[in-house]
Amino acid sequence: MWGGAEELSVNLQKNLIIAGHDSEVLRIPFQWEPASRISSQMLMVRALELWNVDKVIALKFPAFYIRHPDKTLWLLHQYRQAYDLYDAGQTNLPPGQEGDDLRALITNADNEAFAESKRIFTNSEVTRRRLKKYNDFDATVLLPPINDPELFAGGQFGDYIFAGGRVNGMKRQHLLLEALAHTSSNVRLIIAGPPDSPADGNQLREAVERLGLGDRVKLDLRFLPRETYAEYLINAAAVAYLPFDEDSLGYVAMEAATAGKALITTSDSGGILGLVKHRETGWVAKPAAASLADVMNAVFVDQALTRSYGRSARDLWNSFEITWPKTVESLLQ
């Protein structure tokens, strides 16, 4: 698997080297199914010896269990199925005593790892709040910078709403299609990115067919070169991103704001709400087709207003002052 955490670690390594340090990425394999093997994998990390290293920056479960006298956490993920996802009834942990024991084990081990860390940063306000709520540890939010901001300059106000990034059920691109069926006929949509599974891609293709949206939707379902992705983004009228309760702002949103695009999201999308202020930097719709359709219409009703939301999104993002040199400085404090 290669995802946001892997991408972040590689870019952090690159920027540590730019700042004059030696840096190596240590990736620790973790398989969360079956749940009965979670505890041995936690112990596995604890049993490793990491020598010849002055400082460790640990990013996620269970890697943050690694023992080192100078460990800083930049927490992207706890094991959410033992915490908030458990509370939401979405867990792979077994019911009853066995699951309760596993949850207690994870919580206790997490607390120990957090206590032995010199500093704790999180990648979002949501992660920070969760850490406070479930483990009662304080942390500082350190949002991950964009890796190639130069790609997101220029462009036009095009005739489409753009939805980029990985395609899967949790990212809810299908909801955009359902909504599009309720919009006026001038609203167009481009969905572009790699489906997690062939089924995720097929679901979207079938929805386009079923709803008869073929002439208003372009599906470009593949892993896009960065330049192609940026091209779609900088020429969009607005950018939509509606994951279900995500931890972080999300690169898609940060890149859209960098490009000065108005943002569309939903009230249950999580971290991205730090950047989408309703009727300031974009629109926060209800996670339902009708509400989303209203917002998608609005993008093209008053283009001047949409553009001004885009400028505000860029201003808000710039006010966060999130750059790699500042991030590296904080992590090495």
Partner: protein, 345 residues
């Protein structure tokens, strides 16, 4: 196929043990396989060995169709389709045990107990593998001797060998490897005192400390051979290396009893250059046949000087041995196509 490549590392130490993994990864990806490369930290401190070995037992790589394990103790991983490309044991508890200098721990009851337990655990893990490959005859012999398991030698090729070519056969014998005492560049400097021809010597490489390079420099000055010896104490680029091999008269590599032939010997062979080595150099002797694709001499300055002069005087011999060196690669199957065929069989 989904293939996990698993090896161990010491952070910030780079070398051959990473090359074999990363080059294989590139070749497998070129063939369309999905590859995950996993490096886990491993240190050889006796008291921490078993704790770390337990960690390797707990790794879950069941989502891979097959795993290929390299540096110890990666072979302890459990997987239904485990392939080993075994490059060495934890040598202080195996072949170096009888050497007080290299053992690194006392030969007492506690450490003898650790050693016995390590041998048992290794043997069990080795037997779990579907197939065991090694990087040399030397390592295969050790596996047979210490663990009683059979293995197949699979010589590691170099990356994009097409970069290496032949331009000329000049006056210079080139040695490209880290400047370390056990690589014995000092023997080569000493040999230059005994040469009778204007043959030249070039030593290139970085070092773990400046101590040995300084010593070499002093020796060169003492012997007054500075006009014919070039010492480049730095990491040279891949392009520079290809250029040196393209132009040189021959190459030389005389480590003290090493397991493998050393990548520069293979790179020089791709450039059709003869290899000089010594009778006690270990794995290099699997590649170099005396009088055919190079020379295998006694490890003395006088004998080395003789063969260096011989190559200088007889350029036809240098060329013929160089051509033989290139042919030798095919003879013992040093190629990625062979490696991929065997590892994926």
């Amino acid at each position: 196929m989904k293939i996990a490549l698993v090896s161990t590392f010491v952070p910030f130490i780079y070398g051959g043990a990473r090359n074999i993994v990363e080059w294989l990864q590139a070749m497998l990806e070129k063939e369309g396989h999905q590859v995950e490369r996993i490096y886990l930290p491993q240190i050889d401190a006796p008291d921490l060995l078993f704790q770390q070995m337990t960690a390797f037992r707990w790794i879950d790589l069941s989502s891979a169709d097959r795993v290929i394990c390299f540096r110890p103790q990666a072979h302890l991983i459990q997987h239904p389709h485990k392939i080993l490309w075994f490059i060495h044991h934890i040598r202080s508890f195996y072949d170096l045990w009888d050497n007080d200098l290299y053992r690194g721990c006392p030969d007492d009851e506690k450490h003898r107990g650790l050693r016995a337990a390590l041998h048992d655990a290794d043997t069990i893990a080795l037997r779990e593998a579907k197939h065991i490959f090694t990087n040399s005859r030397v390592v295969s012999d050790r596996l047979k001797h210490f663990n009683g398991v059979d293995s197949e030698v699979l010589y590691p090729p170099v990356f994009s060998s097409e970069r290496f070519h032949t331009r000329e056969y000049n006056d210079e014998i080139v040695c490209i490897c880290r400047l370390e005492h056990h690589k014995r560049q000092h023997l080569l400097v000493d040999a230059m005192e005994f040469t009778k021809t204007p043959v030249r010597l070039r030593l290139c490489g970085s070092s773990s400390s400046s101590h040995y390079p300084d010593e070499l420099e002093r020796r060169i000055a003492e012997l007054g051979v500075g006009d014919r010896v070039t010492l480049e104490y730095r990491w040279i680029t891949e392009e520079e290396k290809a250029d040196y091999f393209a132009d040189c008269l021959a190459t030389v590599y005389l480590p003290e009893d090493e397991d493998s032939y050393g990548y520069p010997s293979i790179e020089a062979s791709h450039s059709a250059k003869a290899i000089i080595t010594t009778t006690d150099s270990g794995g290099v002797l699997e590649l170099v046949q005396d009088g055919i694709n190079g020379f295998v001499t006694e490890p003395t300055a006088e004998r080395l000087a003789e063969v260096m002069d011989k190559l200088y005087v007889d350029r036809e011999l240098a060329k013929q041995m160089g051509r033989n060196a290139l042919e030798r690669l095919d003879e013992i199957n040093i190629s990625w196509s062979h490696v991929l065929r065997r590892l994926l069989a």
